[in-house]
């Protein structure tokens, strides 16, 4: 949808199938993430944006609101909007938007850092689940389901592997039932889906079955080893 950015951001010269506010939001977002606007820069006023894009003031306001909620701009005294340094102030939910707009270098930076985040979360959840098995607090049916999903995902290739990998991790996070982990996992999945070319680093290698086996055995150390081996291929 977005045209390649030049040094001068061009606004809404083509109305796509998406709504006008969404299209305007996307173009401003792209301009910010690719550096056409720098942190601290003032964005054009609503009136200026409306005039240059042809969108009405309400649509412009909605686009600006979305940029604020995403964490890419902030309101300053006097009512204008200024571009933020999103790495310094935005929260995790900015990621899918940034990845959609980012150039290859920023995508690399993001996916590498996220792969590491996934790794440490996976180590922690492997340990926690193994301990819970040792304490007898995980239903056998849950473990059986994880074993089955792990085996299926490990055996799959291509596009199916991505889908089945997602299903596996979603099931693991369901069993863990920890809200922060769940929401971060959702954000990471959304981020991968937003990337223009799904990066290999979002896959964990085969080895899910080994991880589940260690959990089922109630062995936290073995679970950690299995997770590290699984992510070794992608880090």
């Amino acid at each position: 949808m977005s045209e390649p950015s030049t040094s001068e951001p061009r606004l809404l010269h083509r109305v796509a199938r998406t709504s006008v506010p969404d299209a305007l939001y996307a173009q401003l977002r792209d301009a910010i993430v690719t550096g056409a606007y720098q942190p601290g820069d003032a964005l054009p006023t609503e009136r200026e944006l409306s005039a240059s894009s042809g969108a009405n003031r309400l649509a412009v306001r909605e686009a600006m609101q979305r940029l604020r909620q995403t964490g890419l701009v902030e309101i300053v005294h006097g009512g204008g909007s200024r571009v933020t340094d999103w790495r310094a102030t935005a929260d995790l939910s900015v990621l899918p938007d940034v990845v959609a707009a980012a150039d290859a270098a920023v995508q690399q930076e993001l996916t590498t850092s996220l792969a590491r985040f996934r790794l440490v979360m996976a180590v922690e959840l492997g340990v926690r689940l193994a301990r819970r098995v040792a304490a007898g607090t995980i239903p056998a049916a849950d473990l059986a389901q994880l074993q089955q999903l792990a085996a299926t995902a490990d055996a799959a290739t291509g596009a199916a592997a991505v889908q089945l990998g997602d299903q596996f991790w979603d099931a693991v996070y369901d069993v863990l039932d920890d809200i922060s982990y769940r929401l971060v996992n959702n954000t990471i999945r959304l981020t991968r889906q937003s990337a223009s070319t799904p990066p290999a680093r979002f896959e964990s290698g085969a080895g899910r079955a080994a991880m589940v086996a260690a959990i089922v055995a109630g062995d936290p150390a073995a679970a950690t080893d299995a997770v590290l081996r699984m992510f070794d291929a992608v880090l």
Binding site: R17, T18, S19, L58, E62, Q65, R66, Q69, T70, R87, A88, T89, A90, D91, L92, S93, V94, L95, E109, L110, S113, L114, R116, F117, V120, M121, E124, D170, D174, D178, I179, S180, Y181, R182, L183, V184, N186, T187, L190
Partner: protein, 241 residues
């Protein structure tokens, strides 16, 4: 103060919420409770505005916030569809839910957040030891010096400035964003609660050891020292639950 004047306990703080926020909160509650189940469509903007007695702009803003949190999706011309928050909910959901309007915390959510904080900050310490440039090390040493210059009876704080610098030094942007999330939540929490959560953070010797470990590239010690600072509150809360 006369004996029949209201004391601090008699009147709870009244949060000033915008109209859009109030609509958002109601809709969010309806979705999370299942009253508006996943897959269903919310009433139209006009209908919502009419029943809530607010203007459509407020409804639109509320829907935007729900979209940002991953609770709904907006389909052109087809209304607003409720999603399964367990699959689509983003961290924005936590920002809204963790702290109640009166500044108190949802206990289950806070334990979850603090556990994730340990994982992030311990690994950030490890990475900082491996990657921190000289300027970052100098910054951490400056912050440590400031800590040591505090009077002994100064109130305990979670030391956000120090951890922010450490996370930045790690070079991991996802950790920076995770830290920003934690900071945003902490900003809504009352001072007393923050001090309670920071209990044990006044361990200057661990901050000093952490700083030196980072300076000398000793990632193992850095991780251990970071854990010594942020781990205890989690152990305390886990033991209590």
């Amino acid at each position: 103060m006369s004996s029949d004047a209201p004391t601090r306990r008699d009147v709870t703080p009244v949060a000033r919420v915008s109209v859009a926020d109030a609509v958002h909160d109601q809709l969010r509650q309806a979705i999370l409770s299942g009253a508006e189940p996943a897959g269903s469509r919310l009433p139209s903007e006009r209908a919502l505005a009419a029943s809530a007695g607010v203007n459509r702009q407020a409804v639109r803003e509320a829907v935007q916030r729900l979209r940002q949190a991953g609770l709904v999706e907006v389909q052109q011309g087809d209304g607003v569809r409720v999603l399964d928050w367990r699959r689509t909910g983003t961290i924005g959901l936590l920002l809204d839910s963790a702290v109640r309007p009166d500044g108190s915390l949802d206990p289950e959510l806070i334990l979850s957040l603090l556990q994730l904080r340990v994982v992030v900050l311990v690994d950030a310490a490890r990475l900082a030891a491996r990657h921190a440039p000289p300027e970052a090390i100098a910054e951490l040493r400056d912050l440590l010096r400031e800590m040591r210059a505090e009077p002994p009876d100064a109130p305990v704080t979670p030391r956000f400035a120090y951890w922010e610098a450490l996370v930045r030094a790690s070079g991991n942007v996802a950790y920076r964003l995770a830290f920003n999330t934690q900071f945003a939540i902490a900003s809504k929490v009352s001072t007393e609660t923050l001090q309670f959560l920071a209990a044990g953070a006044r361990l200057d010797e661990h901050y000093a050891a952490l700083t030196e470990a980072v300076a000398h590239g000793d990632d193992r010690t850095a991780a251990t020292e970071a854990h010594a600072i942020v781990g205890p509150i989690v152990e305390l809360l886990e033991g209590a639950s």
